[in-house]
């Protein structure tokens, strides 16, 4: 009997801290454990007693890479509870700042976290020595995303301008014009990015996922839509908890989300792409086709191509939104406190996140529930790792370890986000 162990104690180039432990016994995978050992931060606990207006600022601090996603889910959930409907230019501005976050987060992931794996570099700084122009372009693309978030939100990390009902201050149309210039450059850069990542060598792997994402009749999903899947799920966001549950797995002591009816599911770029391809702009659809991306994509390593296409879409969409923008009369709608429950899902770069709040008549939060994308993908990540390793047992340890790391980075996991739901503790044999 022989035992082989693959261990990565500190997962690099992911957001937050986790580790991986795979056990192979007699030529078969005996266990996969993705451990997340970030200290818990207890957001849902200390949100109790806070005023509803504070939720966007507080929940932004769950994640430094996708604070806008937390702010958006928080404000939409509060508006659901308070009976406020944000439409017109305020809605467009929300979509615009979200586009900025997609560009920034996707460019960071493509160029700095993920691409080095495909080309055998430890990091993007090493990659920059051989491909300086490419890395510089990636950094500038990321910068355009950050500039867009900062323009609308005040700063790129933990924006200060998002509030329940709208914004504190809205830009005049002419303030957005210089941004359009930058975005036109970014559109070319994003097209080059799609073409470049399409040529990367992808490990041979496919899985039969249940994809879950928001879906909206008229737009590629960011802030709104129904939750749909490729296996018949089609529900309003308010029914989320009827169909999904967080399971407490004894062996890992972690909370992992699953569909009550069918188990693990995948969220994120691959899910959005497969469920919403026809709502991409023509330019994004064209780029996907030129990149040789199949209409249905089930190889998670190709998520880097989908991320690039989504980046192009976000740039294209931002340009359309700026062109159509008219400054609203007021920066925000009034939101008066009242007792109630509000729920919302929006699409973070790495997958949708769900917020639910119960408010009392003074507008204080009595209960909060937040399900981030990474806790939803955790089960799939473990099963993909098990299957992938089973098919590549012939690889030497160092190569297999690296490919496992690469597999984890396929999901662009955000461990800081997930950690107030996940705590893993296990015996190392």
């Amino acid at each position: 009997m022989s035992t082989r162990t693959i261990k990565v104690d500190y997962l690099a180039r992911v957001e937050g801290e986790g580790s991986l432990h795979i056990k192979i016994k007699d030529g078969a995978v005996a266990g996969v454990q993705l451990a997340i050992w970030e200290p818990p931060r207890f957001f849902e606990a200390f949100l109790r007693g806070r005023h509803f207006t504070e939720a966007p600022d507080i929940t932004a601090r769950i994640c430094g890479i996708c604070p806008v996603a937390y702010q958006m889910s928080a404000v939409h959930a509060m508006e659901d509870a308070l009976g406020v409907q944000v439409e017109g230019p305020l809605r467009a501005l929300r979509r615009l700042i979200y586009c900025g976050e997609w560009i920034e987060s996707h460019a960071l992931h493509i160029f700095m976290l993920h691409a080095p794996d495909f080309l055998g570099y430890d990091d993007s700084l090493q990659m920059a020595k051989d491909h300086p122009d490419l890395v510089k372009m990636g950094l500038q693309l990321k910068k355009v995303g950050n500039e867009l978030v900062a323009l609308i939100g005040g700063r790129e990390i933990h924006p200060i301008n998002v509030r329940v009902g709208g914004f504190y201050r809205v830009p005049a149309k002419e303030e957005l014009a210089p941004m359009a210039e930058r975005l036109r450059w970014a559109r070319d850069a994003a097209m080059k990015t799609v073409a470049w990542v399409a040529g990367l060598p992808f490990p041979d792997y496919e899985a039969d996922y249940e994809f879950v994402a928001l879906s909206h009749p008229d737009e590629y999903p960011l802030n709104a839509g129904r939750l749909v899947s490729n296996r018949g799920l089609d529900i309003p966001v308010k029914d989320y908890e009827d169909h999904f549950q967080e399971e407490h797995i004894v062996y890992s002591h972690a909370l992992q989300s699953a569909l009550k009816a069918r188990g693990p599911y995948l969220v994120g770029p691959l899910a959005r792409y497969n469920l919403n391809f026809d709502r991409f702009s023509p330019l994004a659809q064209e780029a996907a086709k030129d990149a040789g991306l199949a209409r249905e994509c089930r190889n998670p390593f190709q998520s880097i191509v989908v991320r690039a296409v989504e980046t192009l879409y976000a740039v294209d969409e931002a340009l359309s939104l700026i062109e159509a923008y008219e400054m609203p009369d007021a920066p925000a709608l009034q939101a008066e406190p009242r007792a109630g429950v509000g729920r919302a899902c929006t699409e973070a770069p790495r997958g949708f996140l769900y917020h639910r709040y119960r408010l009392d008549e003074e507008g204080l939060i009595r209960e909060a529930k937040i399900v981030p994308p990474t806790s939803q993908n955790q089960k799939i990540m473990e099963s993909d790792l098990g299957r992938f390793v089973s098919g590549h047992l012939d690889l030497p340890d160092d190569k297999l370890t690296w490919q496992c790391e690469q597999m984890i980075r396929n999901y662009d996991p955000c461990i800081s986000c997930a950690t107030h739901f996940l705590k893993v503790k296990w015996d190392r044999e």
Binding site: D57, G64, I157, E246, L255
Partner: protein, 260 residues
């Protein structure tokens, strides 16, 4: 002149959102130059390569909130020549420091189904509560310009320029109209450390103190102003001081004064 060995940079993470270390990757125009001047030796968010310590400059993000981190921060101090906590978690315990005002045993079951597996300290505390630090950058998140300035100062062997005055002064320098005086919006600007460039007042909202207390803040006077002139209640005052820098002493004390 022969070039000296490049100083080694390490970036460490404790309990945090990753935003402050992301600020380094957000220096899109400077990153490659920084990597030319410093050897990025340990930075898990950016690279899987690890160069062994000791390190010349350690940036530390996050607070001490879990038992195993009590030892880890001591080790980081031992292998670092200069140790620089960055951001509100590292300098004040962060938003997760709100547990310091509650009983963490009451918190755990609200989030986790199996409390017995949770390893969390009763408190979330800043780096300086555990080891000596060489300088601190406040802010939630830090300002990346200040980060670049501080790294440059380190490379040049001088003191970083990070003024300890209030947000008010930054607001005046920007030529903003005071949101508190002119619009009656409560603003923590008078007691909050500069560094953000007076962002919130520029966006027509009151400062919410994410850069933490300035040197010698007169919080009692500001609270009296809020209460008497703007009608802010005690529970509102408590919440105002009890956010991302709730553990910073002047804010902690002032929030205590409004407890009932």
């Amino acid at each position: 002149m022969p070039r000296k060995r490049r100083p080694k940079l390490a970036v460490w993470k404790f309990a945090s959102c990753d935003g402050c270390q992301l600020s380094l990757l957000d220096c899109e125009d400077e990153l490659l130059a920084i990597a030319g001047e410093l050897e990025i030796s340990y930075f898990v968010e950016a690279t899987r390569a690890v160069v062994k310590g000791p390190y010349d400059l350690s940036l530390v993000e996050g607070s001490i909130a879990a038992p195993h981190d009590l030892e880890r921060i001591k080790k980081v101090r031992r292998i670092s020549k200069f140790l620089l906590p960055i951001g509100a978690c590292a300098t004040a315990g962060g938003i997760q420091g709100l547990r310091n005002f509650a009983d963490v045993k009451d918190y755990i079951p609200l989030v986790y189904a199996r409390p017995e597996y949770i390893e969390a300290l009763e408190t979330s505390t800043p780096i300086s509560a555990h080891v000596p630090v060489d300088f601190e950058l406040q802010g939630c998140p830090i300002n990346k310009r200040q980060l670049v300035e501080t790294v440059c100062a380190f490379l040049q062997g001088r003191r970083p320029q990070a003024p300890a005055h209030s947000v008010c002064l930054e607001c005046k320098m920007r030529g903003n109209i005071c949101v508190q005086v002119a619009q009656g919006t409560p603003c923590l600007g008078p007691v909050t450390h500069a560094g953000c460039g007076a962002l919130c007042p520029t966006y027509q909202r009151g400062c919410y103190g994410c850069y933490g207390p300035k040197e010698t803040p007169n919080t009692a006077s500001l609270s009296a102003w809020f209460k008497n002139r703007l009608g802010v209640t005690d529970p509102e005052l408590l919440r105002l001081y009890r956010t991302f820098n709730a553990g910073a002493e002047p804010f902690r004390q002032e929030s205590k004064a409004h407890e009932h």
